[in-house]
Every structure is written in structure tokens, then in C-alpha cells.
């Protein structure tokens, strides 16, 4: 007989695909680890310290705000770890750690917790943090140090260990002391923009050029992104849209004047476009939920990036392009609602 046990009442569906938010976020972290690892190999312990700092500060900030708002421990969803690692990868390898800590705090506090935490942030938190320090510390964030410096695993870049609230320690003499031929401290994008010198696309693809901690190895980013796309933890339409949008603007220009304008491949593999397209633009929360909207949103980022790079005052524009598209994302979603079953095509989306 039924042993007096009650039966449970639930609502359909009674089956559930096991993959949860925490699993998705954890896999994004896995996909980021090779990129972070390459960064450490390339820039040494300075890069390691940077990644550890931003991740820890981001986690502590998340814990603080989840405690204050009484939502329990939200570290379990892993999303803040992504923010921490991504933020570090967008910063120069010799970025002062105290400034990185400020960036991480701002990223999580202002970019995420203020809006209500996971699921409610309007923009990518890591980029909010970076935008803040870009405005606050314009010199430090454009001070680049050479990759594969000798002794990078034993000594920090001088600016890394700047005391809190102090101006960054100068790195000029230290770089001269390294005696690296031809190091000018200019990124490939800056060289292209200001001197019309093009770094070869192969170098960009395989890594080892000057730039932020995580923007060098395009190949690794691609592999990580493809892994996530294959596991359907990332909407492939977004990076495809970004690359298509960027190429759409730059290809006619390049065909018209290939001396002044970069090739689409250069645009794709240089700067932060790879990392941005695969790991930041694809932030599910700040991107449109509709399939067509994802294309539009991606293309908007691609177009904006190229426009800022070629016609704006900055040599790099991925961050602002993504932040702008994040802001436009609810609008894009509302005008690209799917066409409901049983409706004639003419009706289209309803805003």
C-alpha cells in the first residue's frame, strides 16, 4: 500500500534540461582560462597579479552587495568571476593594481549590483569598470609594456606595484633597460592610425603584439568562443554580426585606398575586437533576446567600432561600441520581436 506518504503536486513540464545558469557561467570561465593563461605567459607575473586582483575584488564586491541586499550568496552563479577575468584582460599588463581594484569595484558595484545583480545589468559590467578607469586614469590605461620581456616571471612591471592612490611608477627607464629592439609602446592600432604602419595579420592572429593583457592571441579567443558557441552557451549571431558589421564598413574603404585604410582581417584581429565580439558583446544579459536582434546588435557594434577607430579621436573603439550597443539593446529587441506562428509576413514585429 501507499505507506501513508503524500504525493507531490507540481506543474508541467515535469522534465527539465539539467544545464543551469551556473553551468553556463562556469563554462565561460573555462573558455577564458586559456586566454588568461596566454596573457600570463606573455606578460608574466604582472598579468597574473592583475587577473587575481580584479577577480578577487569583483568577487568581494559581489559578496558585499549580495549581503547588503539580502539575496544570499550570489557568488555561486559564477557570473562575477567572468567579470573579474574579462576586466583584467582589457587592461594594460602593467596597470597599477590599486587602479585595477577600483575598476573591479566600480564594475560590479556600479555596473551590476546597482541595477539588481545578475540578469538586470544594462551594460557589460566589466566594460563599465574599464570605462570608469579610462576616464579616471587616461595615462595609465594607455601605457603599454612589451610582451615576452626577459625576467617577466620574476619581476613585476614597475607600475604594477604602485602604492594606492599614487601616480603610477614610471616605466620608461625600465623598458629602456630591457633593451628590446624597436619597442615604441604603440599598439598595432595606434601605429595604423597615426603612422600608417600595418602589423602583419599573422602576428595579430597568433599573438605576441603590444596591447592589453588579453587582446593579443586572436586564435585562442576564437577557440574559446567556438567552444562556447558549439555548446550553445553563446549566441553565434553576435560575433558573426560584429565581424560582418566591421567588414561592411571597412571593406569598401580598403578597396578604395589600401594604404590609408586597414584590411578587414586587420580590423578583425587587432585590438580588442576579437575578445569583445566573442566574450563581451555576447554577454547574454546586455544583448537582445531575439535572433534577428542579435544580428542587428552585433552589426551595430562592428560598425561603431570601425567608425570610432577610423574617424574618431581614439585608436580603439570596441569598448564604447559595445557599451552603446548595450544601451540600444532593449530597443533593438523590441523592434525585432519574432513573427508569431500563424501571422502573415506583412505584420512584422510590433514594438
Amino acid at each position: 500500500m501507499f505507506k501513508g506518504k503524500p504525493v507531490e503536486i507540481r506543474t508541467a513540464p515535469h522534465l527539465k534540461r539539467p544545464q543551469g545558469v551556473d553551468e553556463i557561467m562556469r563554462n565561460v570561465v573555462y573558455a577564458l582560462l586559456p586566454i588568461a593563461g596566454f596573457s600570463v605567459w606573455q606578460f608574466g607575473i604582472s598579468s597574473l597579479a592583475l587577473i587575481v586582483t580584479t577577480t578577487l575584488v569583483a568577487m568581494l564586491t559581489e559578496r558585499l552587495f549580495s549581503h547588503l541586499s539580502g539575496r544570499g550568496n550570489t557568488l555561486k552563479d559564477w557570473s562575477v568571476v567572468i567579470t573579474g577575468i574579462l576586466l583584467a584582460l582589457t587592461l594594460p599588463p602593467g596597470f597599477p593594481l590599486w587602479m585595477a581594484a577600483v575598476a573591479a569595484f566600480v564594475a560590479v558595484a556600479l555596473g551590476k549590483a546597482l541595477f539588481g545583480g545578475l540578469g538586470y545589468n544594462v551594460m557589460n559590467p566589466a566594460l563599465v569598470g574599464r570605462a570608469f578607469v579610462q576616464a579616471a586614469f587616461p595615462v595609465a590605461i594607455t601605457t603599454w609594456t612589451p610582451a615576452f620581456a626577459p625576467g617577466r616571471f620574476t619581476e613585476f612591471v614597475p607600475s604594477t606595484l604602485t602604492l594606492p592612490f599614487m601616480k603610477p611608477n614610471p616605466v620608461g627607464e625600465w623598458i629602456v633597460g630591457l633593451n628590446i629592439d624597436g619597442f615604441t609602446g604603440a599598439t598595432p592600432l595606434a601605429m595604423q592610425k597615426f603612422q600608417h604602419i600595418f602589423v602583419s595579420t599573422t602576428d595579430l592572429f597568433l599573438g605576441g603584439v603590444v596591447g592589453s593583457s588579453g587582446e593579443a592571441p586572436a586564435l585562442l579567443i576564437l577557440l574559446g568562443g567556438l567552444y562556447l558557441a558549439a555548446r550553445r552557451m553563446l549566441d553565434w549571431r553576435i560575433p558573426v554580426g560584429v565581424f560582418a558589421g566591421a567588414a561592411a564598413v571597412v571593406l569598401p574603404l580598403w578597396l578604395y585606398d589600401s594604404f590609408t585604410y586597414p584590411s578587414p582581417l586587420f580590423v578583425w584581429f587587432s585590438g580588442g575586437l576579437m575578445l569583445g565580439a566573442w566574450f563581451m558583446a555576447s554577454d547574454m544579459i546586455a544583448s537582445p533576446v531575439t535572433p534577428l536582434g542579435a544580428f542587428v546588435y552585433g552589426a551595430l557594434i562592428g560598425v561603431l567600432t570601425v567608425v570610432i577607430r577610423l574617424f574618431g579621436g581614439l585608436s580603439e573603439g570596441v569598448m564604447y561600441a559595445i557599451l552603446l550597443a548595450n544601451a540600444a539593446s532593449p530597443l533593438i529587441a523590441s523592434i525585432t520581436q519574432p513573427r508569431v506562428y500563424g501571422q502573415a509576413r506583412r505584420q512584422g514585429g510590433r514594438a
Binding site: 501507499f2 503536486i9 513540464p13 522534465l15 527539465k16 534540461r17
Partner: protein, 452 residues
């Protein structure tokens, strides 16, 4: 783009969405239909179909014979009930139902000495009858949609003159996990099924009939095809095994390439859809002039020791059935129907009704029984990708949380949702989207300004 991909697919399917949950059909698909013993007490609810409840024709204390009509139809959209077993009417009283509230039912004390032979025969050559006579015969047999909808079958037969039925679709998809009763019916009662199809074609004047079967049941496709001439009006088609292929709107799109206009009926396309189980019963019962008194039910699930497909008298209490299959010890959740759209029962006194195609029983330790953390929506767009109606469940869910039920209907076509559960199944945030939508629809029905 998707159209291009469809070219490489082996079998037809609907255009957007759908999911592939684990099927769990292997435990019962190979088991032939078996008969179970009669329960000591059988309960026949008067409302086990859509429409008006039946009206009792018997009084308490009266003896009834198996197959005897015990309740009559009340109007056009209603069907009669027949005694599922020989015995004595013990009560006509309120009884628990799967939906929750108690409803009137006829309780039969089954006579242990009776041989349970059906003595109510009226053999007839169905194909010699006029369409009107067939509609009446189907109604007298108490037939309803056995796939789960339980809509009176004769109502669909009598199409209005301005919208004639040209095409008949026979639904053998059985896309719900665990369920295999339609599969077994197609294999074991192929002749009855084809006879049922011919009866309906004769009654409606439809000039072709398409049988749609998911391609995980190719043996059933072959069994049916073997009995059909190549150029006849009846044809059988494999469709992709993808949930919810068996939904009426999906199957129409898969087989005919057309979508029912929003708010419309299959009849608007000149189509009527019948479940294979319904037509197999029709082909079996009508020539004999008998009523619907039993049906095939798949009993399966992790907590069932002896899963299988059982021929169960209508009105058998679920608790008795579970004892017979050894599911009483571990049962934690008992679902009538399939796990995607079925309903949990609150009481094991609930009887098996005409619309119950399966009983799935879970034990407390099963993975799907564990509570899951609900996260906020992360806009991953999986629900948008799987919704077969092309809705935006993510948006609908956010509106539901803000209780903006009117906007859900007016701006996002809430009433097009048929609660297949795909969105809630894939949601990584474990948001109970389908339940939100059920609540929103229930509230909208009672809000005059929103009523559709």
C-alpha cells in the same frame, strides 16, 4: 537559412523551435498491450470530456452490465458514458478529479462473480451508413479525442457546410517522453485504425488522409504502409521526432506546410486532426455498435516496477493501477499524461478517464524531482529559440513577473501559447515560465478588458 537546412533533413518537421528531451520510451515500446484486472470499485466521472457533462441514466443500487449506457449526452458537445464493468451502482456522488475540484461521478461496485462480457452489441455495416448516421453512431459510442484533449469526436466530424473537411490528418506522433500507447496501437491494431480512418473519410467526405508518425517509430510506419496501396487516398508519413511534433498546429505545418491563422481552427484550412488511438477505437467499436469502456494507457516512469501498455477500464482508480504495476512503494509524483504537459494528481482516488494516455510515476530520488535554484532571467534566448509558436517567452516571463497580463496578450500574443513547456524545459534560470503563462491566461480570462 533554416529552409536550406531543412533540405538535408530526412523527415518533414515544423519550421521553428521544438526540443529533443530524452525519450525514455525504450522500457515500454516493445511491450505488447496487456489487460489488467478490474478494480473492486470503478468511478466514471460525468465530465471527462470537453463540453457539457453527461447526465446519469441509472439510479443508486441498480445493476449494470458491462457496456451498458449509464449516462447520456447533454446537448451536441457532450458524449454518453458506458458501464466499464458489470456491477452495482454504489453511488452517484462527488469524486476527486485530476484537475483538483471534486466533480459528480458514477461509482460502480464491480461484481466479482460476473464474467465481464460485453452484452451490448449492435453490429452494423458502418460504411453503408449516411454521414449523419455515422456522426450519431460516433456520439453514441462516447468517443472523445484519446490523445489527451478529450474533445468529443463527433463534433469534429460534423463540419459546417461552408468549411468542408478536405484533408484528414491522423496524429501518431506521440511526442511526449515515456508514452508508447499510440505506438503499440499502431502496431497491434493497424486494421482497426485504417477502418476508423475510412469511416471518418466516409463521414466527412475528405478526399485524402495523411498519417503522421515520428521517425523514432519506423516499425509503425512500415506496419501501416504494408497495409496500404501505394496510390490510395490514405498515406503514412514519417516526421522528425521532435517535441511538440504531436501538437495539432505543429503536425499540420509539418505535413501540409501551412500554418493555422492566429485564433483560427484547423477547419479554416479544411483540415481535421484525429489521434490514432481515437480512430483505432472508432474502427473497433462502431462496427460492433459498442461504447468506449476501456483504453490503452502507458504506465511508466522511474518508480514503476512493471512498466507497460495496459488496457485499462475507464474509471479505474489510479491508486489501484499503481498497485498492479508495483509503483505504489516509491511513488512521489504521479502524472496523468506525459511529463511535458501532463497533470500531477493530488489524490490516488482519481480515476483513469477517456483522455488519459499515460501515467508517469517518479520516485523521490529522481533527478527531475530535486528542487532547483531559480535565477533571474539572463536573456540567453533559448526559450525564444525553442518556442514552436515563435513567441518570446523571455519577454512574456518578465511581463508576468510585473503582472502586466494585459500587455502579455495585446503585445506578445499570449493566447497563442499552448503550454507545451519547451521554454520552461530549456530555461537555465529554472524560471517556471509555463506556469506563469497558465496563471496569466487564467487571469486574462476573468478580465473583461483583455478577453480575447
Amino acid at each position: 537559412m533554416m529552409r536550406l537546412l531543412n533540405l538535408f533533413r530526412r523527415h518533414k518537421t515544423f519550421s521553428h523551435g521544438g526540443i529533443h528531451p530524452l525519450e525514455y520510451k525504450e522500457r515500454t515500446a516493445g511491450l505488447a498491450i496487456r489487460r489488467l484486472p478490474f478494480a473492486p470499485r470503478i468511478v466514471v466521472p460525468l465530465a471527462q470530456h470537453k463540453g457539457a457533462p453527461a447526465v446519469p441514466l441509472v439510479t443508486v443500487g441498480q445493476q449494470v452490465v458491462r457496456g451498458e449506457p449509464i449516462a447520456g449526452a447533454d446537448g451536441h458537445v457532450s458524449v454518453p458514458m458506458h458501464a466499464p464493468a458489470t456491477g452495482r451502482i454504489a453511488a452517484i456522488d462527488l469524486w476527486p478529479t485530476a484537475e483538483g475540484p471534486k466533480a459528480p461521478a458514477i461509482v460502480i461496485e464491480v461484481s466479482q462473480a460476473a464474467n465481464q462480457a460485453v452484452l451490448y452489441d449492435e453490429p452494423v455495416d458502418v460504411l453503408a451508413l449516411s454521414p449523419e448516421e455515422i456522426v450519431q453512431a460516433v456520439k453514441d459510442a462516447g468517443l472523445v479525442g484519446l490523445g489527451g484533449a478529450a474533445f468529443p469526436s463527433h463534433v469534429k466530424l460534423a463540419a459546417p457546410p461552408d468549411k468542408p473537411i478536405r484533408t484528414l490528418l491522423i496524429n501518431g506522433c506521440e511526442c511526449e517522453p515515456y508514452l508508447t500507447c499510440d505506438h503499440r496501437v499502431m502496431l497491434e491494431k493497424t486494421d482497426a485504425l485504417l477502418h476508423g480512418i475510412r469511416i471518418v473519410m466516409h463521414a466527412t467526405g475528405a478526399d485524402r488522409a495523411l498519417i503522421g508518425v515520428e521517425d523514432n517509430k519506423m516499425d509503425a510506419v512500415r506496419a501501416i504502409a504494408d497495409k496500404l496501396p501505394d496510390d490510395g487516398p490514405i498515406s503514412v508519413h514519417a516526421v522528425e521526432a521532435k517535441y511538440p511534433q504531436g501538437a495539432e498546429k505543429m503536425l499540420i505545418e509539418s505535413l501540409l506546410g501551412e500554418q493555422i491563422p492566429e485564433g483560427g481552427l484547423p477547419l479554416d484550412l479544411g483540415v481535421a486532426v484525429y489521434n490514432v488511438g481515437t480512430l483505432a477505437q472508432m474502427g473497433e467499436l462502431l462496427p460492433l455498435g459498442r461504447g468506449l469502456i476501456e483504453r490503452v494507457v502507458t504506465v511508466s516512469g522511474p518508480a514503476v516496477v512493471h512498466p507497460g501498455n495496459y488496457l485499462v477500464p475507464i474509471g479505474t482508480p489510479v491508486g489501484f493501477l499503481l498497485q498492479q504495476v508495483g509503483a505504489d512503494a516509491a511513488a512521489n509524483e504521479v502524472i496523468l499524461g506525459g511529463p511535458m504537459m501532463g497533470m500531477t494528481v493530488a489524490s490516488l482516488d482519481v480515476p483513469v478517464t477517456k483522455g488519459v494516455s499515460g501515467i508517469v510515476v517518479y520516485a523521490a530520488g529522481d533527478a527531475d524531482q530535486q528542487p532547483r535554484t531559480v535565477y533571474p532571467c539572463i536573456k540567453c534566448s533559448r526559450c525564444v529559440e525553442v518556442c514552436p509558436m515563435h513567441l518570446n517567452p523571455s519577454m512574456l516571463g518578465q511581463l508576468a513577473q510585473k503582472r502586466e497580463y494585459g500587455r502579455m496578450e495585446h503585445e506578445h500574443h499570449l493566447s497563442q501559447c499552448f503550454e507545451c513547456g519547451c521554454c520552461a524545459y530549456v530555461c537555465p534560470s529554472n524560471i517556471p515560465l509555463t506556469q506563469y503563462f497558465r496563471i496569466a491566461k487564467a487571469i486574462n480570462r476573468e478580465t473583461p478588458t483583455v478577453a480575447v
